[in-house]
């Protein structure tokens, strides 16, 4: 039995079923991200854990205890919101102390704990500030301290970084991860930003239309997407249609070029179409097509994006993007030129959904 269990969770708003049979077991101390586009139900699941929404079906248990009959204020769950949600009429220390005061802790203990929390987020010096006197990043750190002060069983983070600037977003996500590991608190993090989820999580749940499409460690999700949706949503994988040439030898053709896959094709016959995924950073430009794991095509665009140069190549009807690290001496392939992209056979994944 895991620490936080979500079993067959369903949720409908009127005729719209937002969450469909969602299952997930989260271990104590684990950092799990729910990743998906807006409307995929990720926030709704989080809000059901917090008690703000009541599941239409299924059970939620924390530490072996069903949460069904507990109101939000009885669940001992810490929550951090996208909009910070600091109480505007209270200063930093009062905000952090709020949960402890409501719980009726003695004053000395509250003072001690507030101090400890402000130390954790390195804002000791701003204890007397009011929310409107602080930057977004600072406010969100206070919100984190406030959520953690009453020692909740579970910490829920609802897109906590979306309202912040790019640079602060990166530094605050690292800080959140550090604090989480330091306290060993079980954490659920909701985001639509794949880089955020990949960089911060122990495990990721990729959600699509109310269901979990794939659950796994970041590298697993990125390198071996289980479905077309995951492949499209996480990273910028190339999705290529290929024609099966010989199922026995794993031979397929892309455009009119033959490629032999490492992975068995499974239950297909010659002439069938299958989908392959190729990461844009997997290949490299070569002078000629030696061996089977190469594709030759016409370069249709080449974009300088800063640290990488993204080139697009037309192979048959497919358009394949590939990335090269920028370097001052590098001359990217020119538009209209013919180029050969080489990669290893394991880089071509079969997408089955």
């Amino acid at each position: 039995m895991s620490f936080l269990n979500l079993t067959s969770i369903q949720k409908s708003f009127g005729p719209v079923q937002v969450v469909k049979d969602f299952n997930m077991a989260i271990e104590k101390g684990e950092f799990v991200s729910f990743l998906g586009p807006s409307g995929c139900g990720k926030t709704t699941v989080l809000r059901m854990i917090a008690g703000f929404e009541t599941p239409s079906g299924g059970t939620i248990s924390i530490n072996g205890k069903s949460q069904a009959n507990l109101r939000p204020n009885q669940r001992n769950i810490g929550m951090v919101f996208q909009a910070y949600a600091l109480f505007p009429n209270m200063n930093v220390a009062e905000n952090v102390a709020f949960g402890l005061k409501v719980a009726g802790r003695p004053k000395a203990e509250i003072d001690q704990r507030v101090k400890e929390m402000l130390g954790l987020i390195k804002l000791d010096h701003l204890a007397d500030r009011y929310p409107y006197q602080m930057s977004g990043g600072q406010q969100q750190r206070v919100a984190l301290a406030r959520a953690l002060a009453p020692k909740p069983q579970v910490l829920l983070l609802d897109e906590p970084l979306s309202a912040l600037d790019a640079k602060i977003r990166v530094s605050l996500r690292e800080e959140i991860r550090m604090i989480q590991q330091q306290l060993g608190i079980t954490t659920v993090f909701v985001t639509h930003d794949q880089e955020e989820a990949l960089s911060i999580s122990d495990r990721i749940v990729v959600m699509n239309a109310g269901k979990a499409d794939q659950i796994g460690a970041p590298a697993e999700i990125y390198n071996r997407p289980a479905t077309r949706f995951v492949a499209n949503f996480v990273g910028t994988l190339n999705l290529i249609e290929a024609k099966v040439v010989d199922p026995a030898s794993n031979r397929v053709s892309i455009g009119d070029q033959g490629v032999t896959l490492r992975e068995p094709l499974g239950n297909v016959k010659a002439g069938d179409t299958i989908s392959l995924a190729l990461r844009p950073e997997a290949g490299s430009i070569a002078a000629d097509a030696k061996g089977d794991t190469a594709l030759t095509g016409e370069v249709i665009s080449s974009n300088f994006l800063g640290s990488v140069i993204r080139t697009r190549m037309k192979v048959g009807t497919a358009v394949i993007s590939f990335d090269m690290f920028n370097s001052p001496g590098l001359v990217p392939p020119a538009v209209g030129e013919t180029a050969t992209l080489r990669f290893t056979a394991t880089d071509l994944l079969i997408i089955r959904d």
Binding site: A50, G51, F52, R71, P72, N73, Q74, R75, N76, I77, G78, M79, F81, A83, A85, L86, F87, P88, N89, F98, G99, V102, A103, Y130, Y132, Q133, A143, R146, A147, P150, L156
Partner: protein, 260 residues
């Protein structure tokens, strides 16, 4: 172009508000022939009926405010939080008193709560006072509701409520510690407007035959020359004072909440 509008606004303000006021103030100071004096004001302030009706209206205003706050704050909060679909309807209801003439409301009350009805409120002084307070509350409802609702709009009550809940707070704590402190300025502004309305109201008090300030002002207006002008000036100063207080308080609020 800018100048044109600035002048337009000035002329408009002059014709509409300032000149009439100046004229009236000037007139109210002319009771003693040939010199400016405060005689009219002295007469008014010394009139026992003035003292009686003014006190009565202030008491009525205060009870109307208390009743209005208790009614409006939790309602507006709850509607915004849980029944946002009802907001247009509630707003519609709170607008009704603006367009239903006070006469209609009072006629209705008198027919409904007269001495031979199931709830003979008009039979006793206290009953009539309560009825009048209800009437005043109706008149003040649009302003009180708008004011509180605008106050609630400026804070994210849904998220603040959830944040407080997740920290273990119940409804009473949320209303008392989170919501009320953050809309206090809006409540005060609604209260001042209510006060100004009740002090000046005539129709309802007259029809229910209560000794309020509005009918007294009307009575004086019909029978005297200088005193009503003095009264109008005083009444204007009072409402102006209320509005000034609203501005002051909301400026204070802005100072405390700005850099958005």
């Amino acid at each position: 172009m800018k100048k044109f509008w600035a002048w337009g606004a000035l002329i408009f303000g002059l014709l509409y508000f300032i000149l009439p006021l100046v004229g009236m103030t000037n007139f109210s100071l002319k009771m003693r022939r040939g010199v400016y004096s405060l005689d009219a004001y002295a007469v008014v302030l010394g009139d026992p009926r003035f003292q009686e009706t003014f006190t009565y209206s202030i008491l009525m205003a205060l009870s109307t405010i208390v009743f209005g706050v208790l009614l409006v704050v939790p309602t507006a909060y709850w509607v915004r939080l849980k029944l946002p679909g009802l907001r247009p309807y509630i707003e519609f209801i709170t607008l009704l008193p603006l367009v239903i003439p006070a006469i209609v409301i009072v006629f209705g009350y008198i027919r409904l709560y007269n001495t031979s009805s199931w709830l003979p409120l008009t039979g006793t002084t206290t009953g009539t006072n309560i009825l009048l307070m209800f009437g005043y509350s109706t008149l003040a409802l649009p302003y009180m509701y708008r004011s509180v609702d605008t106050g609630l709009r400026s804070i994210d009550i849904a998220t603040l409520t959830e944040a407080a809940q997740s920290l273990g707070a119940g409804w009473t704590t949320i209303l008392a510690k989170i919501i009320l402190p953050n809309v206090l300025v809006a409540v005060l502004s609604g209260a001042f407007l209510t006060f100004a309305i009740v002090i000046g109201e005539f129709t309802m008090a007259a029809l229910l035959n209560r000794p309020a300030f509005g009918p007294y002002m009307q009575l004086l207006g019909a029978n005297r020359a200088y005193e009503p002008a003095a009264l109008a000036v005083m009444s204007f100063a009072l409402t102006w004072g209320c509005l000034g207080l609203i501005q002051l308080v909301s400026r204070f609020q802005k100072g405390a909440q700005s850099p958005a």
